[in-house]
Assembly symmetry: C2
Homo-oligomer: 444 residues x 2
């Protein structure tokens, strides 16, 4: 299908190409723009049926959007902007180069420019910056019949009609009513009598993390956004929330790997930005790792006497680090999903402690047998290494389980207490355990 | 509000309590069940308005569901099961203890038991196991008016009426039409003329990862599930997809921390299961870390001559590991979100290489200065350590960026190429670099 359309465009058979586009999904059409040659792009854009052009446009990658806007007439731009949902227009303006933004703003009237400005002022990742303003509003005095005819008249330009919002003369939110409820009710019932007044809503300045949490908890399809006087200013729909969830997860995952979180796609991020996002934590962790080095140098005399002890350092450090980051990952993810809370402190210590005893015992035993069988060292060294391993694992799991909770309690992001930081802490403690036990048990 | 209701129930003022429940969100009512005393629980459940009892029930935690079913009459159970959406019934049966399942199945007829069995046979996390069967089906010969009256008649029991499915006499899927389209169309138009025939659907045996991917790509609210003959057997709604996305993310995050993924909540998972999920990878990584130990013992003579070299081992190992896991995390996440693909191989090598040069240079410089200023060692050792650090970071970033892509190419899960495994590989290579450079530059 795709090849056929590209072929038709190359041969300038535009009517046929246009015919093929009918009934294609707009997302798939938008994807064609990425495959087409630059010099054919505007030609292709112009054959899009007028009623889907704006929809398709909203799914095209930013750089191609900019290219299209730069190349088409002001009249065509106005047509697109009029048809775009308002949140897509705001996104467009946020991401375009200044010269393109100017061209876009020229096609909007005074009132819209004011509104755009207001939206651009909402903090990044706030409900205000995510919402859209195309929703269906009803009055509670309307009958179901009246409401449905109102929807028929105004619904075509709305982002969704599946949920409608009941507001009073001052735009204060009074209730919500689903299209399902409207359709299944008698036509002479009043909206007031069928609307739901227990409304889950969010304020313009609330963070998108809260939005995602509420959508998940209440299985919502859309949610009203209100200002301080509970006046309805916009709505958020579930398709945006799906993106928010992915974004929030990516942010957590990046932090857990000791990187500054970034919302941009990897391939689109510059080398310099990537380096900047990574260097700070690497520096911090590198400097803190010198503490571990200092511990080794403190025990230099032990090491000079039994150099073979050095060969077990990587195994001890890695196993401790891995054991700790398993626990911290469980805790961080549990906190992010709301499955655990700082008040579960004691339960988590107790659980991690028991897990660590089991895991530590198995690891230490396997390690002891391996040393006995394969390494030509005294049984005492086997005991020292395995006992250190056991205590390291126990300590790592408890520390790993607790630090994210403590971070949460201190209003820090638990995700920063992830593997790299846990590893650094665990390293220092485990080597202290190891060399202290060596000194004692080997009589050094 | 919650305290008030709990108070009223304690005082046995059930009519008042019931009155308070009206207009409360069912999710919030379900949450009350977790706060109420066990011996009050059935009393509370029985005052729920009949039309929301099943809905509330579907949001109660499994163990309380089991307790309720065990305590109420068969007649009451039948009432709940009749009102539950089919996918919730199947979930219930999957999670209940056998004795409870028996009680539930007693309240279902032959036909439903057959259907339940069929659903239980779908593989875990397949589209079949996630879908529900309560959807609105239309025929293409219907007029819009006829379709709407059909929806009015049957819609009350459907999970959603926002999207309706057009099927032929053999239940073959022919099109979809949104309630929006129906409402905005003229009442004498034919469904055939307004339905969308470019349908995004999924097969019963497809994995839920694919479901999430399609929902995200096409911003869907629901999706039809079909069998091999493209006959419609169920639908999946976006609220289930939100849960799937979280599940898939948790799975990836667990794998990235070297744990067997688990879908259960942390606090509800037994110590033994937690230990089992963690021990395998810890063992594998512990054994492979002995390779790093062997490298140290191979260079034992170097270490014996200049014991101070040992103090830089943790810093080198950690920084290399962190640098590598940053890159692998970016690659794993990029693959999971579909932002990068194995064919981007060369672009990623080139990008990671340039990032690593920048990052490595900064780290090595800071490290060199730190050694000169604070450590009482020869400048040669400073050079060896810093040069090793530079090469380690460069190697770690390229390896970290590439291994996830290679895993994907080999049809393995890229998430297993995460920090722990990368760290183990990077450790071995970095120590080899370090001791080789020491041997050469220090003339050992």
């Amino acid at each position: 299908m795709n090849e056929l359309i590209l072929e038709l465009i190359n041969q300038n058979k535009l009517t046929e190409a246009r015919h093929e586009l009918e009934d294609m999904n707009i997302v798939d059409i938008a994807q064609l723009f990425e495959e087409i040659d630059r010099h054919q792009l505007i030609k292709f854009f112009r054959i899009l049926p007028k009623d889907i052009a704006a929809d398709v446009f909203s799914y095209i990658p930013t750089e191609l959007q900019a290219f299209i806007i730069e190349s088409i007439t002001d009249f065509e731009i106005k047509h697109i902007i009029d048809d775009l949902f308002f949140d897509d227009t705001v996104d467009l303006i946020e991401e375009m180069p200044a010269v393109v933004v100017k061209k876009v703003l020229k096609s909007t009237d005074e009132q819209m420019r004011k509104l755009i400005n207001q939206f651009l002022n909402y903090p990044e990742d706030s409900a205000g910056s995510v919402m859209t303003i195309e929703f269906v509003d009803l009055k509670k005095e309307m009958t179901v019949k009246h409401a449905l005819s109102h929807i028929r008249k105004t619904g075509i330009d709305k982002e969704t009609i599946n949920t409608c919002y009941v507001i009073d003369a001052n735009r204060k939110l009074e209730g919500i009513v689903s299209i399902r409820r409207l359709i299944l009710s008698n036509s002479d019932e009043l909206v007031e009598d069928i609307m739901n007044t227990d409304i889950i809503y969010i304020h313009t300045y609330d963070d998108q993390e809260k939005i995602a949490m509420l959508f998940k908890k209440y299985d919502l399809l859309s949610m009203p956004v209100v200002d301080n006087e509970i006046r309805l200013v916009g709505i958020i729909t579930v398709d945006d929330v799906v993106d928010i969830i992915d974004q929030e997860n990516t942010e957590d995952i990046h932090k857990m790997a000791a990187m500054a979180p970034s919302e941009e796609e990897y391939l689109k991020t510059s080398v310099l930005t990537l380096a900047k996002n990574r260097i700070v934590w690497l520096l911090v962790l590198m400097i803190s790792a010198t503490i571990t080095g200092n511990i080794i140098s403190k025990f230099q005399n032990v090491l000079e006497t039994v150099v073979i002890l050095a060969t077990y350092v990587p195994m001890l450090m890695n196993t401790g680090g891995n054991a700790g980051s398993q626990s911290s990952t469980m805790a961080i993810r549990g906190l992010a999903l709301g499955e655990i809370a700082p008040r579960d402190f004691l339960m988590i210590v107790w659980k991690e402690f028991r897990v660590s005893i089991l895991v530590g015992f198995v690891l230490a035993s396997v390690n002891f047998l391996r040393i006995l069988m394969f390494d030509k060292v005294s049984i005492n060294i086997g005991i020292v290494v395995s006992a250190s391993l056991f205590f390291t694992v126990a300590m790592a799991k408890v520390v790993g389980g607790l630090l994210p909770l403590m971070a949460q309690k201190l209003k820090l992001d638990p995700a920063i207490m992830a593997s790299p930081l846990i590893t650094t802490i665990v390293d220092a403690v485990s080597l202290t355990i190891y060399f202290t036990m060596s000194t004692m048990l080997l009589g050094l």
